[in-house]
């Protein structure tokens, strides 16, 4: 397979097509516009459908309709648009429909800025909509990872009959780097999706219903089942990179673009003899709890959480695992201001030297 020098947003779009996506609906918003632009010509090439919706609200509901019909469907947006999609995402979860939602995130709240940020962590992991559901959240740090995670996203979505979110900052959406594109999956929409409302040749009348509406007792049962699903994720589906943890006295926690900047700083600090490592969640949901819970706290003197978010958000999930066994420091930028290797290096060093006193 040849390697291609591609822009992040386009790499995600192509990976979706190769992962079997045959329906996309979306509404323009910076910094994710290359995803709909790319799919507007690419999907028809493979017999798929692209619709530019009249709004994010309409777009997510088009995805809902396509998913109900058994088609691998996707939408993409950025913070403000994801907020608008919240209703539809909740309906997808309620109706138990698979779909992939991409958030190329930017500064918030409100209109915020169109520059990269990681301030949608809470939204993605805690409450993507009403009703207390969860979705798996993938947070790639390289474009290769973005490609691989998008390519396989429907496998999880269909296995669980639940939406999946790809959460990537605008920086990785805009960046170009080398990626290896996987083979095209066969997009057999009839497949084994017995729940989807497709007409199959020679099939008897089925009178099927897909709806998020349930009588109370059944809804309670459904929610209980959902709870068990989330527990299974935590057991089986955690993806995490643990970097130089063996002898680490300080553990950096970062995801996405922040993790790449932090890694550069860690490599430099290691050269100077500082024992620093990193835990990089790839799945933000399920969160790699064990990585933090099982650290050797007789050795670890502190956790340094680095995010493009002020106040830090992932810190809350880390704190639940670390408890009071080590202090948690935070460093980050917000509002669309980016981290850089130099300042991050200095920040980590300051924390370590301050902490050592």
């Amino acid at each position: 397979m040849a390697k291609v020098f591609m822009k992040g947003n386009e790499a995600i779009a192509e990976a979706a097509v190769r992962g079997g996506c045959r329906f996309f609906a979306g509404y323009p918003i910076t910094p994710q516009n290359e995803i709909p632009e790319y799919l507007s010509w690419r999907l028809p090439e493979v017999g798929g459908t692209f619709v530019q919706g009249e709004s994010e609200v309409a777009s997510i509901n088009m995805v809902y309709g396509a998913a109900a019909g058994g088609c691998r469907a996707m939408t993409s947006s950025s913070g403000p648009g994801i907020s608008l999609k919240a209703e539809g995402i909740s309906y997808l979860a309620g109706t138990k429909l698979p779909a992939v939602i991409v958030n190329i995130s930017r500064g918030g709240p409100g209109l915020g800025s169109i520059q990269p940020a990681q301030s949608d962590y809470f939204q993605a992991t805690k409450a993507l909509g009403h009703g207390g559901f969860k979705v798996m959240v993938f947070a790639p740090a390289t474009l290769q990872e973005a490609v691989d995670l998008t390519y396989n996203a429907w496998e999880y979505a269909e296995r669980d009959r639940n939406p999946v979110m790809i959460l990537m900052d605008g920086c990785l959406g805009a960046i170009m780097e080398l990626v290896e594109l996987p083979e095209m999956k066969t997009a057999d929409r009839a497949g084994t999706k017995t729940w989807a409302l497709q007409r199959r040749e020679g099939e008897a009348r089925l009178d099927r219903m897909l709806t998020p509406y349930f009588p109370e007792a059944m809804l309670e049962y459904e929610n209980t089942t959902r709870g068990k699903l989330y527990e299974k994720w935590a057991e089986n589906d955690v993806m995490v990179e643990e970097f130089m943890l063996e002898d680490a006295e300080y553990v950096v926690a970062a995801y996405g673009i922040s993790a790449r900047v932090a890694k550069e700083a860690i490599l430099r600090l290691r050269e100077e003899g500082f024992k620093v490592g990193m835990i990089r969640p790839i799945t933000l949901n399920p969160f790699p709890k064990k990585s933090f819970a099982n650290l050797d706290y007789s050795q670890v003197k502190g956790i340094i959480d680095i995010e493009l978010a002020i106040p830090a958000q992932m810190k809350d999930d880390i704190a639940l695992e670390v408890k009071d066994r080590a202090p948690i420091y935070t460093y980050g930028r917000s509002g669309g201001v980016l981290l850089d290797d130099e300042s991050t290096y200095i920040a980590i060093k300051k924390i370590i030297e301050g902490g050592a006193k």
């Binding site: 609906a25 609200v57 509901n61 809902y64 309709g65 019909g69 058994g70 109706t95 409302l197 009178d207």
Partner: protein
């Protein structure tokens, strides 16, 4: 003589629609047309939010439940990926003409190949009779206790007229269900819309003028008189657009 029987797309569950409410009638008309066309298995009913949601309990056939106002968007995604299916939405005033305005105009303007059936009874039935975009000037509702005042709430929206102004829709018509003649015409109109859809012609829109005796505070018979004297003259029945006939 044709045998009068329960259409095959209606369950035997007793209807929960209020006595005298025309939702029962319109739902039956749609089900009869589907039987006529032999589309029982192929039809997919996009059920939105409002009194129409009760159809989740009475409708027998493939159903997708949609969020409030979003049925045309859901239908777009479903029909585009399942083009062989007969797809229709059945939406009330609030769903279609208030919260779902963007979705209905968007779908109609793209000329999506499905049918929208709009139940216009000038009120929000399920939530207890609040003002709808279609509520008449002076009409009393639970949010316009002294009658709808144009100065602060604007004017009733004539959806069939609005939709017919768009280029893409192929068939747009309004029927009043308060007379046997109107009912028969409505049945024919729904059938025509479905046939056009099955022929791949494009977007079809049927507005059904209906009552809400409960929230109007009338007996069913009084509601028929009120329709004849008040609502029908305002929301005039008729074919507003028929691209195929105009060819």
């Amino acid at each position: 003589m044709a045998e009068y029987k329960r259409p095959s797309c209606l369950k035997t569950t007793p209807s929960g629609f209020c006595p005298g409410c025309m939702h029962s009638l319109s739902t039956k008309l749609i089900a009869e047309v589907i039987d006529d066309l032999g589309q029982q298995q192929n039809a997919c009913h996009i059920v939105p939010v409002g009194c129409s949601t009760l159809n989740l309990l009475y409708w027998k056939g493939d159903i997708v439940g949609a969020a409030h106002g979003r049925a045309p968007a859901v239908a777009t995604g479903f029909k585009r990926t399942n083009p062989e299916r007969l797809v229709f939405t059945y939406q009330g005033d609030g769903d279609l003409a208030a919260i779902g305005l963007a979705e209905i105009i968007g779908a109609a303007n793209r000329g999506e190949n499905f049918t929208v059936i709009f139940a216009n009874n000038q009120t929000y039935g399920m939530t207890g009779g609040q003002m709808a975009p279609t509520t008449l000037i002076g009409q009393k509702t639970t949010t316009t206790r002294f009658g709808r005042d144009a100065a602060t709430t604007g004017f009733p929206m004539k959806m069939a007229e609005i939709i017919s102004e768009l280029e893409a829709p192929v068939f747009v018509a309004r029927y009043a269900l308060n007379t046997p003649k109107g009912i028969n015409e409505a049945r024919k109109g729904i059938k025509k819309a479905f046939e056009l859809q099955l022929a791949g012609k494009g977007f079809t829109f049927i507005e059904l003028l209906m009552n809400c005796p409960t929230n109007w505070g009338m007996t069913p018979l009084q509601s028929l008189d009120y329709m004849e004297s008040t609502t029908v003259p305002f929301f005039k029945p008729g074919v507003y657009k028929d691209k195929e006939a105009d060819k």
